[in-house]
Symmetry: C2
Subunit: 298 residues, 2 copies
């Protein structure tokens, strides 16, 4: 019997393929083609329009770095919002923190949430049962614009897809402005910012936008093998505090030890190391603005 | 016209494919099938038996980390040996250091060296002209066993292929013993040690062997996008000095600034960060032996 392979063609001239052992779901929702399948090499996988969204083998490298890092540096994060994240992997990590009182997950596609509940229990069974979690099936961009969200969250995680199709609104000016509006003073937002090896424009476009809308912002790195291309760029924005300062890293290490979190990727050494960029990525990062901004022309 | 794609099937159940624009070489040497081609997404690429060996777009992440890091920590490395490395990418990096007086590159396949001279001038033209470089077409395993190599090198870089077929001898006990023998006191050896996400056994097999043959040894990480699977494991062994101590990292940063090296991957921040491992890799690393070894049974 011929084996079945699924191929991802996200980047021009490059493809990754995984051998499928069992196809678990393959349906068209209102928004996208959802496939969930077991593989020989990468555990259970979900693709949306044939782009890998999550695999059970490496989701920790993504979800833990977007949540534990800002929550541990913040120290008092109680309210968390997740933009997208219908597989609940980010919610699951956020809910591991006892100080977190509320997690609001806003995903546009209810079928993603339902199918992930059915097929990714390994990752999300606990989160689905957790009373602190609210799932809103809505457009996160629109949701963030509602007056009720003003100054509401200590952490907003943008588990956004690639900036194509409906995901595009999650990369524009207005999105960053709305995130800023919904963030409490002292809060952090973290953003999926692409794989710089194949999508360098995601860094070069997002970082200047963040610098425009937030008093503090920057880049950090993870490595998610099936988000193909080596390093994954994660960006952060702060409303009062910077992420990745020596004091913040030190405080996070203490809190990590005290919380007895079990992780597969995150640890204090990686927390300290993820703000170092290889030279080719460093060149993509805009030079820091001077504190007083550029001099005005007369 | 249908486009041409080349597929790599190194790992079970997983494949990467690149779209080819021009096929430059496709021939069978005494040892392997050598292909060199230009691609849409990854620059110029060489495969051996259809396994990616080098691409012009990401070779720096591999070659710079195997050479600059130990040379800059060593401080006085004059003699360098390269096991394999027929594309000369490692040699080119080593020769950027003025203190390096001699580089001996030992590759088994003369056709690889000839074809790389012809097609990878962008990477190796300078190295081929450099009088400090000697290229030996020989079995590096056998070469290292010759009495003349005793205590000869300050740095030995094992740019070895995957541990299959003829490359297998470069992963055994005797190989590590011979590397130790050829290394000067105070010298370092660095080793390609696989992609832990798909080849975790390379770490779990190599690190205990290194600990058995060398007074100091350990692991560090790079990220080479086309060595598919995220992190690439590099291991190191020392004959008198450890790599990656705070003092070593600090000294390397000073020497890097003084040498005015131009790099695409390596920089002092990455040097300091590459000894941090994500939790799942940390679990693969054997616990350090106690200084006095395990207690003997009576």
């Amino acid at each position: 019997m011929a084996s079945k392979w699924l191929q991802e063609r996200l980047h021009k001239g490059y493809a990754q393929s995984m051998e499928v052992t069992t196809m678990l779901a393959d349906e068209r929702s209102q928004y996208q083609q959802i496939k969930i399948f077991d593989t020989v090499s990468n555990g259970r996988v979900m693709t949306l329009d044939d782009i890998v969204q999550i695999t059970t083998r490496d989701e920790s490298a993504y979800a833990e770095m977007l949540t534990h890092l800002p929550i541990l540096e913040h120290g008092k994060a109680a309210r968390v919002m997740i933009v997208g994240g219908g597989d609940l992997s980010i919610a699951d990590e956020a809910l591991k923190h006892k100080g977190v009182k509320e997690v609001v997950l806003v995903d546009i596609d209810g079928r993603v949430v339902e199918l992930c509940k059915q097929h990714f229990a390994e990752i999300n069974a606990r989160a689905f049962k957790d009373k602190r979690l609210t799932i809103e099936i809505a457009d996160a961009f629109e949701y963030l614009g509602r007056p009720a969200q003003k100054n509401r969250f200590d952490l907003i995680v943008a588990d956004r897809p690639d900036p194509v199709g409906p995901g595009k609104a999650l990369f524009g000016d207005t999105f960053y402005d709305r995130v800023r509006g919904a963030l409490k003073p002292g809060g952090f937002a973290t953003f999926q910012t692409g794989v710089p090896f194949y999508q360098p424009w995601e860094i070069t476009e997002a970082l200047p936008e963040l610098a425009r809308f937030f008093p503090q912002s920057g880049l950090y790195l993870s490595v998610v093998p099936t988000y193909i291309g080596g390093f994954m760029a994660l960006s952060w924005a702060g409303k009062g505090k910077s992420l990745g300062t020596p004091a913040g890293i030190k405080a996070a290490a203490k809190r990590f030890a005290a919380a007895k979190l079990k992780t597969d990727y995150y640890n204090p050494a990686i927390h300290a190391a993820c703000f170092a960029y290889p030279e080719w990525i460093q060149r993509l990062v805009p030079k820091a603005k001077k504190r007083n901004g550029p001099k005005k022309k007369r």
